[in-house]
Subunit: 380 residues, 3 copies
């Protein structure tokens, strides 16, 4: 277990607050966050099913960077910064595709799938320049249970597994490597990313604002759950109300049971697995019949992109086993509600009279420990 | 009379100029203005007739702040910053309404009309937190002759009456407390707020640019009038041409005579009362038959919102005693002209070659004294 | 020949690169460029045929400044900053026109065509203010072979002819003073102006990106040509492929031969004359039958306006001697291609991982010498 997680203070107090105004409104703070936080943390980038074949790639935007996530070989996936080593042009603007090599559209510098420079027209290797020193810049990539995670640092301070701590066995039983994406939403939230983070870290607001989520989600249990959050990750999914089996508008299944649970023939089983990466939130939520993954992408001091991916079992058939609208219904509504809550919160934080107030020790217990981890990263 | 007003230099010279370029274009200057000027000065916020009943409120925007102007009791009006003391959420986005209490839409923290925290769910008073220390932040409010003025400082350095100096008796005779609002315009002017202020402080430009205003308004007399302006306020309305009774497109009445003048049965009476608050301009204009109030709201270093409110006697009947178009006609045209003049002026001030030129000692005599008061506030 | 041009390093090396990221993304760098570069360099503003008569004027925008280019007399053209010396208002917003004098629309201050203050209402000369000290601020103007060049400095460090070095005789034979403008395009390129400059300084990208230009333009020869570029200017036009006579979609004439070549009756003559002013690029391209002039106007750190003017012989008749579409076809297509290349390049430069890579010594030989001149101007 990593040192930062180890230092996490487990007890929150009524004297705990969120941060002072500058942390949410200062472009200088944001600039420091890029270096100290966004370029050091693991974050979800996509699912292996998006790039099954060698040469398959997709573009992923994170913290102002464009990354090419590409299958280099049957075993390896790479994340190249989408920046030619010659004059800096983006290599591609295609959201996804399949290539043998990457050819820069500006001067046709050509790179192998693993990022090595293969050819620079009129500039032969060794003779004119040293190709070995001109490979594409890379972010770190780790694939865990079919999920692709990236870290903008080429040499992260901790591996993904170190960041996650003990791997959750129940989660693996749901076989996230055998999912298929059925839809994806992107919301632009006009707020600082930490305002959105704080919103996600507590369910103090849920009863009053999230009727759809509240059907199946057990708000009271969530208070105990979030009390444990902090460090660079947390484990666990959304606790369910007694007798309900998944997070849907009825609490009943909206697709086929996932992974080894398909054989259980016990759809009444309550399953809530998942994990979160912090402080820039990646939230993986696995239910017995579907998965939702939320990823936060800070765009500027007052804008954040919130992407939600929905997945079902790879052999589920639309119209027969599931409908997209039903699978996505709860979190679509919840996301829209959270966007409004966060934007209204942020408007208030912009007031020059804003001072952070006391947090609820029980229901908002996760905020200060996570913010403390953030502050420690910023102070390094 | 306050010290700043007392220090006002009464004589302007041909060597007087406006300010150097930085004052109009630097975001750092604007940031300092927020603290040194916008949070220290009185400004018009609305009329008591907007909130006759206990719990009536309206939102008022000023200098980037959202304020809830609310009738707390028959006697008292409050101006609360629209910022929950918990995590900072705005309490309401409704432009106006009536409430028993303010309930934050985020976590249902509940405040009394006077701003005291009444309830924080799951966070009982004394036990968990001290409610007394968590009242809403307040701006100062003073109601004078039915007009609501605010000062973003909770403890202003001078009261409204101190800022105004001697109360103008003629103005009270027009009974501004018995007005009703008939329309309101908001113009976004793409200029620094001081460019708009300077435009308002002189009528050197009027003959060439304001044909509608020039019908009834006596431009020559205005030169003598503005020579007295300075300090934190000035008194007096728009001087009229001989034989005309109000500022309209004909110089004739456009509504019923106001206040005690209604009994005079002398509509030929020239009446021009009013006052101005400085340097961020509130301009109250009372004519014998209607009132216009202009309020400047600085949004950023290069944007200012100019709001004009038109009022008639509260028992005047539309279609019979007045038509909105006729009452608003002169200042609607004049505002549009001033917006164009100020935006074109500001474009020139953006030139890196701009240096302020000499002011007209007679017709632009008010600019330097008012700018000097501003500079003194900035230097404190 | 001027000292800066004299210092130009003639040999570029494979170790040469473009600049580090800050030069392309920092608003502070841009602010310094205004003072150190944009206010010191000659740049094309228009053609004498636009203002044949005394009092004819047109507005020209450059580096955030609005200039009034006006014919003061048969001999003289002036460039006044469009800023009244009183309060700074722009004097006119008309893109072009004819006036006897300039009258400020704000307070009717009136200026002669040569910029002298003639009248300030209510402010008589000598008595109140000194008119002599209140002439309009001027940029330097030089007309060379019918082309109007401006320098935002009123006293430039070098004259236009000093900046140009030896006047190209072949160019004068084309009589650029006898051109007429047939169309003008403005492109907003979302990139730093130096990204666009670098694109223009090399044809390493041409074969892969400019099929229309490549019909008549001899890319290989251009490599030798650009090797000479640097300093504050370069001379020469676009080299043509053997057997072709002009840059068009066929390499054949698209209008009447220009100047003294009209008498030659040798339309097969390859003519490629021109010049470039640096580092903010003005590029004059003269072919035997038409001219194209490109001018770069930096708007902000990440926006540049690229204007192209097309000209033919002043007595050419549309529909008979030329069609606008055919004359403009090659560079319209090329400009659109360059815009896309530059915007994609700039997106990559915005990456925090961007480091400039090695330049092609043969095909990109002009970049470093020109960037060195720029750096020397910035360091002064």
């Amino acid at each position: 277990m990593n040192e930062i997680a180890a230092q996490k203070p487990k007890i929150s107090r009524a004297s705990d607050t969120t941060l002072t105004r500058d942390y949410y409104v200062s472009p200088d703070v944001f600039e420091r966050e890029v270096r100290q936080v966004f370029f050091k943390q693991w974050s979800y980038a996509g699912h292996v099913s998006q790039i099954p074949n060698i040469g398959d790639f997709f573009l992923h935007s994170y913290a102002g960077e464009s990354l090419i996530i590409v299958r280099e070989s049957a075993e390896n996936i790479r994340a190249h910064f989408n920046v030619c080593r010659h004059r800096g042009s983006q290599l591609t603007e295609a959201p996804s595709g399949n290539v043998k090599r990457f050819v820069c559209p500006y001067h046709q510098w050509t790179y192998e799938l693993d990022g090595r420079l293969k050819r620079a027209p009129m500039m032969p290797d060794a003779e004119c320049i040293d190709y070995e020193k001109l490979s594409l810049h890379m972010a770190a990539v780790e694939v865990w249970a079919g999920m692709i995670f990236i870290n903008l640092a080429s040499q992260p301070e901790q591996t993904l597994i170190e960041a996650l701590g003990a791997p959750p066995a129940g989660l693996l039983k749901l076989e996230p490597e055998r999912l298929k994406e059925i839809c994806r939403d992107r919301l632009l939230v006009k707020a600082n990313w930490k305002t959105l983070l704080e919103n996600y870290l507590e369910c103090y607001h849920c009863a009053g604002s999230h009727p759809e989520l509240g059907v199946a989600f057990d708000i009271q249990s969530s208070f105990d759950q979030t009390a444990d959050w902090g460090g660079t990750c947390f484990l666990g999914g959304e606790p369910l109300r007694k007798g309900l089996v998944t997070v849907s508008m009825t609490g009943e299944l909206v697709s086929k049971p996932l992974g080894r649970h398909a054989e259980d023939r016990t759809p009444e089983l309550e399953v809530a697995e998942g994990l979160g990466l912090l402080p820039v939130l990646t939230r993986v939520l696995l239910h017995i019949d579907h998965a939702v993954i939320h990823v936060m992408n800070p765009l500027s001091v007052n804008e954040v992109e919130w992407t939600s991916y929905w997945y079902v079992r790879d052999d589920a058939v639309e119209g027969q086993d599931y409908s997209v609208d039903k699978v996505a219904e709860v979190w679509r509504a919840t996301n829209a509600e959270d966007k409004q809550l966060c934007e209204r919160n942020y408007k208030g934080v912009l007031s020059r009279t804003f001072v952070p107030g006391p947090l609820n020790p029980r229901a908002e217990g996760a905020l200060r420990p996570v913010l403390d981890v953030y502050l420690r990263m910023m102070d390094q």
